[in-house]
Symmetry: C2
Subunit: 327 residues, 2 copies
DNA sequence: TATGCCAAGTGAAACGTTACACTACAGAGC
DNA sequence: GCTCTGTAGTGTAACGTTTCACTTGGCATA
């Protein structure tokens, strides 16, 4: 693989000058510049980022630490992060902790050894990996705020309120809640946004906490199938909603004919399942892109206080909600 | 950030010795070894991989180049690759080309600059990015074989045969084919496996090539809704199958009552959509892990001829196929 | 006693790049 | 003719690691 020195030798000029030329710095006549670039092209020169990193202390590399790529929120996020980062010349190094704290810790340790310039992190829970203690590069959080960190997330409470308004508008007043897991901030915000919006008009018939991956515990199944207990089931995310719909269908209850259901996230599949799901869309791609932007600002040293970016969400009405039958 | 020299200075010993100790090489008395390790711990030493890379020429880094993370095949693959690589001490650098050849080319260029030790690549199509010309590190292909490369994939032809057998067993003989994209090897293998299995018993009523992301062109919609043209629609993957089911439902045709449908891949959602999809399961996680293993063998220099690893697949029968109605 | 060998450790060079201080020369201004 | 300034370019020292050839002393063997 050709180095600066090879080019310098070929053109008969100093290494410094070649470095200047290939990095677009001044101090070279146009004619010489052309010769150097020609030689670089000829020899197939690719700058060695590792060497550059050692000299400059910056690797042009970003860590992306996620809990679980098989949750469909994250691939879309990862795609946006990777593409935005790449167009800024940064390579994204992926860590998927498989929802295991040790995975998170190992991943951070590896990223630190590689001296990534920053980490975009969707934390697993409230704990901080011990390996992270003396990490002195910027960190941007996704979705889960913490004191002292930049964070980028959606306005989940707003999503809850939009759903509440939609429930009222379509005539539902007895609500079942399949909320996300207890203790997860984003689940809490969704739930509280809904419940707090119209406390006098909406009656919460029952509420059950469910994992975001959509597996329904027996009590959820019982609640779902108790006829008349609720006319609308508001779910913590789309996976839960899809599971609920299937659970209902298996027991002879049709959505939205017998019961209405809403999701949250607007993952791709909401548009492909039957019935198509009414849900809350959050701009996942924009969140990923923004996280990278915030990171770039941090990296460029324009340091402010930690900043919180919150994106609006939107109601997407499809086929899984219709006015309740009289009875 | 502490360096080998800092430790050497603290312990009063040479840099070489510290390097030997932290890398577990011999040539140090147990007692000295202990002192060095204590100092390393004390100072929070993390080896600088960039510096090591420059000296050794190896970065302990792997590229993973994918067409589209929002296709649910890939997150599962990426997760397996990342976890297997990490447990071998390798960091995975992600490129998502968003199905654009330029993205693939840019990604490879970036990976080359970073001198990754190898690339695991699921090629977009038949073309090779120009930037890849003088890449001299090992490449392991996923899913799409090419002459001269290692490849890890499923036995797609076997999947096709299993589907054909299932079609016969459930009494279907007039088949519609929504095959994957033209020119994509894995799509061709699935299709050929099916078509070649029982050429005398199964009649291909129509065949249309469709993108793997499941968007249906108008002619596909026409074919699907032409009543009686086929009793079973065999789709190139699950996304196509799910789209087909919804397309049918929107036009008043119910699956499996009016038409049966099969998918391919057994992505997670096949179990959540209505009806649950009969499909072919491939061991995605095992494929990802194996790809890393093959890569490690290549990297360790035990070079053989290019090798092809093929995993068995299995039929998963669910609700989207039932015997055809008489008529 | 001389010889060789081993364990324990050292010093310096190199990997490819960038940053810094420097030189050489041409032209402008007085 | 002299200094001043700017342009075009050079040489060298790092960055943190590994590798290689080397030293030193002790101990076993002939």
């Amino acid at each position: 693989m050709a180095t600066l020195r090879d080019i310098a030798h070929a053109v008969g000029v100093s290494v410094t000058t070649v470095s200047n030329v290939v990095n677009g710095r001044p101090n070279a006549s146009p004619e010489l510049r052309a010769r150097v670039l020609a030689a670089a092209e000829e020899l197939g020169y690719r700058p060695n980022r590792a060497a550059r990193a050692m000299r400059t202390g910056r690797t042009s590399t970003l860590g992306l630490v996620l809990p679980d790529l098989t949750n469909p929120f994250f691939p879309e996020l990862a795609q946006a992060v990777e593409n935005t980062a790449r167009s800024a010349g940064l390579l994204v190094c992926l860590i998927d902790s498989q929802s295991r704290p040790e995975g998170e810790a190992d991943g951070f340790a590896l990223l630190m050894q590689h001296r990534v310039d920053g980490v975009i992190w969707c934390p697993l829970g409230a704990t901080t990996p011990p390996t992270l203690k003396d990490f002195d590069k910027p960190i941007v959080l996704i979705d889960r705020p913490r004191a002292g960190y930049d964070v980028v997330q959606s306005d989940y409470a707003m999503g809850g309120r939009l759903l509440a308004a939609h429930a009222l508008a379509t005539g539902h007043t007895r609500i079942g809640l399949l909320s996300g897991p207890h203790g997860v901030e984003s689940a809490r915000q969704r739930r509280d946004g809904f419940v707090g919006a119209h406390p006098d008009s909406l009656e919460i018939a029952w509420e059950i906490n469910v994992d975001f991956d959509g597996t329904l515990p027996p009590e959820a199944v019982t609640a779902l199938t108790r006829r008349r207990s609720a006319t609308l089931v508001v779910c913590g995310n789309d996976l839960i909603a899809i599971s609920a719909i299937r659970c209902l269908a298996e027991r002879g209850l049709r959505v939205p004919h017998d019961v209405s259901v809403t999701g949250f996230d607007n993952i791709r599949w909401t548009d492909l399942v039957t019935p198509r799901l009414t849900t809350i869309a959050q701009p996942i791609g924009a969140i990923g892109a923004k996280a990278v932007e915030v990171m770039l600002e941090r990296m460029s040293g324009t340091a402010h206080v930690s900043r919180r970016t919150i994106f609006d969400v939107a109601l997407v009405t499809r086929d899984s909600v219709r006015p309740p039958r009289r009875g």
